[in-house]
Amino acid sequence: MSKLASLWLALTLAISIPPLDPYLDGDMTRLMLIQVPTLILLGVLLGPLMGVKFPMGQNFAFAGLILGLGLVMFWMIPRSLDLAVVDSRIDALMHLTLLAAGLMLRLSLPCLPLLIQMAAGIYATAMAASLGVILNQTKERICATFTLEQQQAAGSAILWACGLLLSIHLVWSLSRLVQTGTMDE
């Protein structure tokens, strides 16, 4: 096993078992802004680590994108988050599916035209920002396992993170556009 693969495994295990997992689960901001994105990112890194070369047609790549975003969307549903926090088996399922979502995004996105990549990035950020607004502005608890204060703080943090993410995404997209000169690649 290469050093990078060992590091990946160590990180994935560290984020999935005590003491780090319950610590991250214990606060909505930590769960949604550290654990969930880290798991997706670890899934993204899994592709190159496994040496997976899966040049897929655009039709399959688009399906992978839908499945990847759909899985992430599933764990943004408050009921799903509640279950992941109270039930260790559901929590393990969340970890696995978020890793799978990251892997799917890694395999599918490079096979799609830049225009679709840009649109997917903007759409995903908008989806997360909408969730941030809902969490921040709702005066009732949406997630049963977190307090209203944690919920509103998480909403606010998600909005800030989305602003940052969108800026990075736009800079990256525009630089790619300048490099390639087309949106079709």
């Binding site: 655009q58 039709n59 839908i66 499945l67 509640d82 997630c143």
Partner: protein, 210 residues
């Protein structure tokens, strides 16, 4: 025509299958996009009102037994909580105390307030009695604990009624903040988010009386 359509279907099929999978999963999980929270999922899954309260034997703060599914002849406003709760329970208790004051000043004695603990293993009768006394022993307010050994089965009964309750990883109950109006026939006729204001409560009773 068929030759033109075939590549189009071939190209779109994986995405359509993926979309159907995601849509189907989210639709099933949220009961047709109606229930995104744990609370609403339990409420949407519960039997429609009016419904009978769950079959539970309760012991009140002075040790008197009462059968939840046999409460008749009076209106009952029922809510759930536990004494160590630092979330919504203290707010509900304060709201019940306020309603109790209103009922006394209005001379209404056929509406009984009923608080049932979600943690019968810890909240013993003497603890409930102590809390009841701290509210000046109100005659129209019962604090009760169910006679149950199997807590998950007790909570499952409440979930079937539309009251979400579970436990966190430390075993502490976590629950929805709801109250239920039981009419003179012993049926649950209304479910409220939190404890309703006295006006809304009296309006519901009037509506039930037709």
């Amino acid at each position: 025509m068929d030759r033109q359509l075939s590549p189009l279907i071939k190209a779109a099929l994986p995405s359509l299958v993926a979309l159907a999978l995601v849509w189907g999963l989210l639709n099933w999980w949220t009961l047709g996009f109606q229930a995104f929270t744990s609370y609403s999922h339990v409420r949407e899954s519960a039997a429609p009102l009016p419904q009978s309260p769950p079959r539970l034997t309760l012991i009140d703060q002075v040790g008197k037994p009462l059968q939840l599914d046999e409460l008749q002849g009076k209106y009952y406003l029922m809510t759930f909580g536990f004494l160590d709760c630092t979330g919504t329970c203290p707010v509900s208790m304060a709201a019940f105390n306020e309603i109790n004051g209103h009922l006394q000043s209005l001379g209404i004695d056929d509406l009984v307030l009923l608080t049932i603990t979600l943690d019968p293993a810890r909240d013993r009768q003497q603890h409930l009695h102590y809390v009841w006394q701290s509210f000046d022993s109100p005659a129209g307010w019962i604090l009760a604990r169910p006679q149950v050994q199997d807590i998950p089965a007790y909570w499952a009964k409440l979930r079937r009624m539309g009251m979400w309750v579970d436990q966190d990883k430390l075993g502490t109950p976590i629950h929805d903040d709801r109250s239920f109006l039981i009419n003179r026939a012993g049926m649950i006729v209304q479910s409220f988010a939190g404890v309703p204001p006295i006006e809304a409560l009296l309006e519901s009773i009037q509506r039930d009386q037709g």
